[in-house]
């Protein structure tokens, strides 16, 4: 079921268009990756979803209704540029931000207790934000983002500034939130985490959406018919057996086993090639090599022109 959608969003600034008829659709209980190079228009879109700015054209829907200020309490937002009041105590600050989202003081305090115990940060309650390290501040900010149990959580570069251990902690939290029924829009440059976490993605470049869909489907779509084959036998027999039906890209001998990477010739099926291989060598494994999201990202962005956009607009990205 669709939880959130944006239809034909256009946002213009003085001298440039940040978003040009961008549409996205985010399903319930999924993690949606919002990808794109710097300056593509991601932050503009995220700000529009958070109702921080309004689009010049287009419509937004939340649970089938037009997006309105009432929905603010059901949306959580972790901006890329993190920020908290430096001189304010951690606990007091969390309470304040939670109450701005509509929680009562008691409820906010109860939930904060749960999260502070979970992250083992109870001792920070009376500390001022400026006394915490950057990573610690990030943790606090993550708690603030999810405290009011929003149905839609928007995370802009959630892993930046975390060490690998804490990045992993946050990654697990994100997956747990999805388990609990939350929907998450994840904007990141970290393609590894996109492959690990995201169900669907949309790729934005130069104000336009250039790719969207299910991560697995996209990867399939961009497959290049490349396979890794491990076998026991003679290398020459191996290459001779498939002849012109495929091309050897690389091979490596590892003890008795040889690992070879081949790309099928146009129109050839894997089955045909295997059929030719079977009599020639002893097969151990066959595995398709799919392009990484990173490769797809770079390829698609390069297709649509220069990756770097001159930052005519003062808004960050």
């Amino acid at each position: 079921m669709e939880l959130f959608s944006a239809k034909n969003i256009v946002k213009r600034y003085q001298s440039h268009t940040a978003l040009d008829k961008v549409s996205i659709s985010v399903n319930d209980h999924t993690i949606f990756g919002l990808l794109g190079p710097n300056g593509a228009g991601k932050t503009s879109l995220i700000r529009i979803i958070n109702q921080i700015t309004a689009p010049d054209e287009g419509e937004l829907f939340f649970k089938g209704q037009r997006l309105s200020p009432e929905h603010v309490s059901q949306i959580g937002y972790l901006p890329e540029e993190r920020g908290l009041y430096k001189k304010m105590e951690v606990g007091e600050q969390c309470l304040y931000l939670a109450r701005l989202k509509g929680l009562s003081r008691q409820e906010a305090a109860k939930r904060l207790k749960y999260w502070f115990e979970k992250f083992e940060i109870q001792s920070w309650w009376k500390k001022k934000i400026e006394e915490l390290s950057k990573g610690m501040q990030q943790k606090v900010q993550f708690v603030v983002t999810v405290l009011h149990e929003p149905q839609l959580i928007i995370l802009d570069e959630p892993f930046s500034g975390f060490d690998p251990i804490n990045a992993n902690l946050i990654k697990n939290e994100i997956l747990e939130l999805k388990q609990k029924g939350c929907t998450i829009i994840l904007s990141t440059h970290n393609m590894g985490s996109v492959e690990e976490l995201c169900d669907e993605i949309a790729l934005i470049n130069r104000s336009k959406k250039i790719l969207e869909g299910n991560v697995a489907t996209i990867k399939k779509q961009y497959h290049s018919n490349t396979f890794d084959i491990t076998f026991e036998g003679n290398m020459i027999a191996f290459t001779n057996s498939f002849g012109a039906t495929a091309e050897l890209i690389d091979h490596k001998k590892d003890g008795d086993l040889i690992a070879a990477r081949i790309t099928l010739a146009k129109g050839q099926k894997l089955n045909n090639v295997l059929h030719l291989l079977l009599p020639a060598v002893q097969l151990h494994s066959v595995k398709e090599i799919l392009p990484s999201m990173n490769d797809i990202f770079i390829m698609k962005v390069n297709e649509t022109g220069e990756t770097v956009i001159s930052n005519t607009n003062a808004l960050t990205e």
């Binding site: 700000r47 921080i52 700015t53 920020g83 304040y96 931000l97 808004l315 960050t316």
Partner: protein
Amino acid sequence: MDKILLILKREYLTRVKKKSFLIMTILGPLLMASAVVIRVWLSMVPEETKKVVVVDETQVFTQKFRNTENIRFYYTKENLEETRKSFYTEDFDILLYVPNNILQAQTVQVFYKKQPGYGILEYLRNSVSTQLEEKKLIASGIDISKIQASKTTVNLVTSKIEESGRIEKKNTEVLIAVGFIGGALIYVFIFLYGAQVMRGVIEEKTNRIVEVIISSVKPFQLMMGKILGIALVGLTQFLLWIVLTAGITNAVLSVYMSKKYDTSMVAKTFSKQEISGTTQNQLQNQLQMPDTYNEIQSTISSIQFGTLIGCFLFYFLGGYLLYSALFAAVGSAVDSEADTQQFMLPLSMPLLLAFFVAQAVITNPDGAVAFWFSIIPFTSPVVMMVRIPFGVPVYQVALSMALLVLGFIATTWLAGRIYRTGILMYGKKITYRELWKWLFYKS
């Protein structure tokens, strides 16, 4: 509305809890009270008496100069040379040399050990010139005693005739003081707390917390919460200052006074005078004191303090709201406090102007300048405050207040539109043209 209250509460509490607030709250009244106490103390401490030795070659001035509390004259027969030599061994502070050719040269010389003050020098000059004038008058055959008898001083007793025909004595100096203090306080508070609003906005913007907050509340709510919260901080501080200043001043003065004078004695002398008939002159002299005193008292009691305080609070809040919204807009348009200067000028100009006009209004509280500047919202808080103790027609006050309310609604609207765009702009130098464009962005 709930959210504005939440924001207001945070803005208020974080500021009131700060150490700097506590320090300012205590230091402010101490400074003000010490200003009052020091002035009173200075007027009571007798100045050191200067001993002036006079070398008078003409012999005309000998024994003629009048001694005062501060100056005592001694006359010597020795000549200048000898007196100068012994100047340091003797106990004199100043040597006044009147040469023989005084009538032609019109010059006397003053020698000193330590530079005497302006007052002393003036007194010496006056003494010599009066004596000279007298000598000249006598020489031309005029009777000095007649001239002295014809000297007259006039007391101005200022009264106001009410519409009802009632006559009310007023002491203008008191009115000036009350009005001017009120106006000046408003002027200072607008700058002080307007700047706090601006700093708060810049802090939120550079911290980037603003993005988190405006994903929960509207930018306008955030701005209003901040402005109103800081207004309450201002009021709190103001009330604490008043209470503490009055307390400290009273305490110190009463302790000091009771030591110095027996107050009951003073009261007794005043009451006795009204019954016992002393000489005409003496009575008048002594009555002068209680007369002005009574006048000040009656003026103070004639000022309707309820109205005055009500007006003060209204103009204080109105002026603050008008300006602080603009301060917030300036804060939103810049990345750091250092960048605010280009936008500060149009904000501080009208305020400064109001302050200067207020000084002119004192001499003519009902003139055209006073009228217009107390009607225009940008200057009315300061200027009207100065006028109010003199009595201002109700319709003028009403007009001025109504315009002030409209004024701050207008500036708040304007500032809100600049603010909501400005707080999301980073790393760009903003021009006035851009601010103008922001006014028309779709929200």
